[in-house]
């Protein structure tokens, strides 16, 4: 597993903002250390290797613009982009876990199978609560 890495970062968002993705699996790709350094990568001196921690994901489409606009940005309804969109993302770019729930909205008179985004309200407080404590 001696590897060299050329492409360091990839573009995962096309129209700005966050993207929603479905994780296939996580993995640590090893690469040989050469003459340049990236402070963000974990240093594994023993093997002279650095890990690039990534997730293999499939993307959801951008939210439907009409629903997004009519709902003041809270109804993000997407479709799965499938195998075509299979790609790597850096683990440190993953911000949060979200739910994508199937629904069938009628948009301009046509019903479509889509997925809507549900996020936990006030989710950030999660790590401040007492639920992860000893009891």
């Amino acid at each position: 597993m001696i590897l060299t890495l050329i492409c360091d970062t990839i573009q995962i968002s096309f129209n700005g903002g966050d993207r929603i993705a479905e994780v296939r699996y996580f993995t640590r790709l090893a690469r040989e250390v050469d003459d340049w350094h990236d402070a963000n990568e974990e240093w594994n001196a023993q093997d002279c290797l650095q890990f690039v921690d990534v997730a293999l994901v499939m993307l959801y489409s951008n939210p439907h613009p009409y629903l997004l606009e009519r709902s003041y940005g809270i109804l993000a309804s997407c479709t799965k982009l499938g195998e075509e969109s299979l790609q790597m993302v850096r683990i440190t770019d993953i911000r949060s876990l979200v739910a994508m729930i199937p629904h069938r909205p009628v948009i301009h008179g046509v019903a479509e199978d889509r997925y809507f985004l549900a996020e936990k309200t006030g989710m950030d407080i999660m790590c401040f609560g007492s639920e992860n404590e000893e009891d």
């Binding site: 700005g16 974990e42 549900a118």
Partner: protein, 736 residues
């Protein structure tokens, strides 16, 4: 000054608290009192190793019984004949001595009417009402608990958070023309920055938040118990909500709600006031120095009824019903006494005293102590009961707040000290309001007709049941971090439905599930509210987001009034107080930081946790008090000697810590695996290699916010009914 006996009584409590000193009043005597004036100037050492063992056992067995402790002790002594371990009760005493935390015990009425303290100290004897008081309650003085937080370098370092954060915020302000980068903890708020620039709070001072809550001990039984706690805001928010950093104030036993709650708050506030007057002597181990610290009460929060006990405001039915005592005057139906915080003047309306024109939503903002004091003076001067009652309605105040007893330079002021809990009110109460609207559950005035309630979509049983099914169907797709996923509400119409279930249901699911079901303009108005509330519920809010939330809410409120209440006198009761409180959220964030950060939402859990620790249902209150005191003693000991508090399973086995809070978790391939198909192509492309290396698959990832993301790799190995699709993630845009 006050003329009516009830007001005189309140004032005498306040005056006694204001004039408190450590050597009179409160019953800390002997060594604990001596320690307050002269804190020990060395780190706490437990000299004897068997004492240390006993204490560690005692702490580890916090949730077990006394006999468990004794059994283990006996086994150890059999195995190691030289070992002499103290008994359970001896250990308990050692803990109390080492921690320096004790309780002040006061008599109280058996029916929890009042505590016999302060002006009531001789009440029972002089009135001959109770010969031998059979009930007592415990107050745990705050000062020794605070001193313990400085007695180990590690703990003391945590107490310096406020100082560091303040410095950081002032730099942000300079850099961004007076704006903070983010609104999160209270230090970002204008109120805090003002007291700092006015030098009311110095570097070594301690900033406190008081939180009071009533809690039911058992769900089935009608046993109420009131608990108040202190949150030390000097600690970072990461710590200050955690159970082990929450300082317990007092446990006020039931069985009923205390009648004169001031008397139960008295011992704790008297003690605080005394320390405020004399200053708290602290020895900071991390810097090896002694200093005087002043205790500043920055916020006081509670849910609706609890807040009124602290503020003595009139509450929602008054003309000035706002918890914040903001100057908004409500409207009422001509025939009913209760006011509602309606902004738009009803059509053809001329009820005397509230026939003012429409109020601009942007005029809603916090009140201030000058207004409060003026109104209070008016109230206190009421010569007769009748005048008093009229004044209550006019001023929005029922009596002086007990917090007036604290030293005025060391409290934010009234009503400024009251802020929080609006997050809870606007979250949970608004969720209930929306449901009532959709169900058409409001009383329909004879002049109104439910046939015109286009928004009452759930009156139709078929629609309601279909919605219930849709909610239940979402369960499978909601990850565990959503707490309790909502059940089918149509099957649980009358049963207990948790607040978190409501919030997920209404704010996360309904915007999508009601699309096409709610008539368009009602749906749009609902979405506008949710959009604003979701921003306000974030832990950190950027100034740009805050501006957007402010605008959304300001547009939403008048629109909400226009489409539901429609300026009809008979629909005034549609506009509940929570509608109004929502309008305060944005300006409160600029004043005291992100609302959720000072919300009682998270504290309720702590209070609830204490209630669960009861083990002797026969005498629940005294058991709860003992648990509470022990809890404080253990926390103080842990703060002074952190090795009693080893970190718990930081990272489980078979995990890989990637730094920055990301941890890969099992399961993981034992061997390197060859990748096939599209996966192989993508990996090779990513690495820029002609062929794909073997890799190890990992199934789970823990995110910095505590959520655990799964992956297809793991979920395909489960039965379909066990899968809860926790593998969708939000990914940050990362440009080259």
């Amino acid at each position: 000054m006050a003329k009516l006996p009830k007001l005189q009584q309140s004032m005498s409590f306040i005056q006694t608290i204001r004039g408190a000193s450590l050597d009179n009043g409160i019953r800390l005597t002997g060594e604990p009192l001596e320690q307050l004036h002269n804190p020990p100037k060395a780190p706490l050492r437990v000299d004897y190793r068997y004492t240390e063992l006993a204490l560690s056992m005692f702490i580890a067995l916090e949730h077990s019984s006394e006999s468990t402790y004794d059994k283990i002790r006996r086994v150890i002594e059999q195995c190691f004949p030289d070992a002499k371990l103290p008994s359970f009760h001896e250990t308990k005493r050692i803990l109390a001595d080492l921690s320096g935390v004790t309780s002040i015990i006061k008599d109280m009425c058996i029916n929890s009417c009042a505590a016999y303290v302060g002006p009531f100290a001789n009440f029972d004897r002089s009135n001959g009402r109770v010969e031998h008081p059979r009930a007592v309650f415990h107050t745990i003085p705050i000062a020794p608990q605070l001193q313990s937080l400085w007695r180990h370098p590690e703990s003391a370092e945590k107490m310096h958070y406020r100082e560091q954060r303040t410095h950081q915020i002032f730099q942000e302000l300079q850099r961004n023309d007076g704006l903070v980068d983010m609104y999160d903890d209270v230090f970002c708020g204008q109120a805090y920055l003002d007291v700092v620039t006015q030098n009311k709070i110095q570097k070594n001072d301690i900033l406190l938040m008081l939180s009071i809550d009533g809690t039911q001990l058992y769900k089935s039984k009608d046993l109420e118990c009131w608990i108040y706690i202190w949150i030390v805001l000097n600690l970072s928010p990461e710590y200050h909500y955690k159970k082990k950093h929450v300082l317990l104030g007092a446990i006020i036993p039931g069985p009923k709600k205390p009648k004169i709650i001031d008397s139960f708050l008295f011992p704790g506030l008297h003690h605080l006031s005394a320390v405020q007057r004399e200053g708290l002597c602290i020895w900071d181990t991390s810097q090896d120095c002694e200093f005087i610290s002043w205790l500043f009460l920055f916020l006081a929060c509670a849910d609706g009824p609890g807040l009124l006990t602290l503020s003595n405001f009139i509450g929602h039915q008054g003309k000035n019903g706002c918890w914040m005592l903001c100057p908004l005057n409500g409207h009422r139906k001509p025939s009913a006494p209760q006011y509602y915080p309606v902004l738009l003047k009803p059509d053809d309306y001329n009820v005397r005293g509230c026939d003012h024109p429409d109020i601009n939503v942007y005029d809603i903002g916090p009140s201030n102590s000058h207004v409060y004091i003026q109104r209070l003076l008016h109230l206190l001067n009421s010569p007769t009961q009748h005048v008093y009652e009229t004044q209550c309605l006019e001023t929005g105040i029922v009596g002086p707040s007990i917090l007036l007893g604290l030293q005025p330079q060391l409290i934010q002021g009234i009503p400024e000290v009251f802020s929080s809990e609006m997050m809870h009110l606007s979250g949970a109460n608004m969720a209930a309001l929306w449901l009532n609207l959709w169900h058409g559950k409001f009383d329909c005035a004879p002049t109104d007709s439910q046939a015109n309630w286009d928004w009452a979509i759930f009156k139709d049983i078929a629609t309601w049941e279909a919605h219930g099914c849709a909610v239940a169907a979402c369960r499978m797709c909601l990850p565990g971090s959503f707490d309790v996923a909502p059940h089918d509400p149509s099957l649980h119409a009358n049963s207990w439905y948790k607040a978190t279930e409501y919030i997920t249901w209404i704010y996360s699911l309904c915007p999508a599930l009601l699309y096409g079901i709610l008539p368009k303009h009602f749906w749009r108005n609902f979405c506008k509210f949710v959009a604003g509330l979701q921003i306000m519920a974030q832990y950190s809010i950027t100034p740009a987001q805050l501006q957007r939330a402010c605008q959304l809410i300001a547009e939403w409120e008048p629109e909400f009034e226009r489409i539901f209440y429609q300026c009809r006198v008979d629909r005034i009761p549609f506009i509940h107080l929570c509608v109004h409180l929502t309008c305060h959220l944005a300006s409160e964030a600029t004043r005291v930081g992100s609302p959720i950060c000072s919300s009682q939402w998270t504290m309720e859990r702590t209070i609830g946790n204490l209630g669960q620790e009861i083990r002797q249902p026969s005498d629940p209150f005294s058991n709860l008090a003992q648990q509470g005191i022990r809890h404080c003693q253990v926390n103080a000991l842990k703060a002074m000697t952190p090795h009693f508090d080893p970190p718990e399973n930081v990272s489980p086995r078979a995990s890989a810590d990637l730094g920055n809070g990301y941890v890969l978790l099992a399961k993981c391939d034992k061997h390197l695996t060859t990748v096939h198909g599209d996966d192989a192509r993508v990996i090779a492309d990513y690495l820029g290699l002609p062929c794909t290396p073997k890799i190890r698959h990992w199934a789970h990832l823990r995110l910095p916010n505590g959520q655990i993301s799964r992956s297809e790799y793991q979920e395909l190995q489960c039965a379909p009914e066990d899968i809860c699709m926790a593998r969708n993630v939000k990914v940050r845009q990362s440009l080259k």
